[in-house]
């Protein structure tokens, strides 16, 4: 594939309750395999995906947090989080299982302008 496009995957849903979070993650990983630059932006309940110590064996699902931890190995290291989404839930960067960059509203709008393809889940 010759053309390069900058991809932004927005993930807004909590893990496990529905397939959205898993689908967002699979899309990010697949796009990275296609050697396109991929960023992820966690908004709203999507920030819950980043919580440590997820143990989903009892609900018969795969550990989404474990897959998220592997993102940097796929060269997906541009991970952004809505500052107010995190803080309004009583959480901070230390609660996250990965290093993330906090963005305010202006920075989110700018992040979008800097990407060619934006997929939201």
């Amino acid at each position: 594939m010759s053309t390069n496009k900058r991809f932004l995957i927005i993930s807004r849903r909590p893990p496990y309750g529905s397939s959205h979070a898993r689908d967002a993650l699979d899309t990010a990983l697949t796009t990275a395999v296609f050697e396109q630059p991929v960023s992820m932006l966690f908004l709203d309940d999507g920030v819950y995906q980043l919580l440590q110590a997820q143990q989903p064996a009892g609900i018969q699902q795969k550990n989404l947090g474990a897959t998220l931890s592997a993102l940097p190995m796929y060269d997906i290291d541009q991970l952004y989080v809505c500052d107010s989404a995190l803080r309004s839930r009583g959480l901070g960067p230390d609660d996250c299982l990965l290093p993330v960059q906090l963005l305010d509203s202006n920075a989110i709008a700018q992040l979008i302008r800097n990407h060619d393809v934006v997929l939201s889940f």
Binding site: P14, P15, Y16, G17, D44, D45, Y48, L51, Q52, A53, Q54, Q55, P56, G58, I59, Q61, G65, R89, G90
Partner: protein, 95 residues
């Protein structure tokens, strides 16, 4: 007496409000699936008086909330969920 179950995070403000509005004193609210995020300590939720709160244990563990629950929330396992259904005369699911 009614058992209410709620399966969405508190960001679904209208759902949570409807659920709490529908509770009478003596009712129990069981948080399940994404509803267990309502049980996270430090949430600004105005729980109605006289309503017992609990959260489904498998969902709490799945989401990494074991050490993060508010102190007024008890955990129930699947057997406890069934028992709560027996102890209340009707069950309403908020989703």
């Amino acid at each position: 007496m009614t058992l209410h179950t709620l399966n969405r995070a508190p960001s679904n403000t209208a759902l949570l409000a409807d659920c709490l509005r529908a509770c009478s004193s003596g009712d129990t609210l069981l948080l399940i699936e994404d509803g267990v995020y309502c049980a996270l300590a430090g949430q600004p939720i105005a729980w109605p008086a006289g309503v017992t709160l609990c959260a489904l244990a498998a969902d709490v563990a799945a989401r990494g909330l074991d050490s993060r629950l508010a102190s007024n929330i008890a955990q129930a396992d699947d057997a406890g969920f069934v028992q709560l259904c027996c102890e209340h005369t009707r069950v309403i699911s908020w989703y």
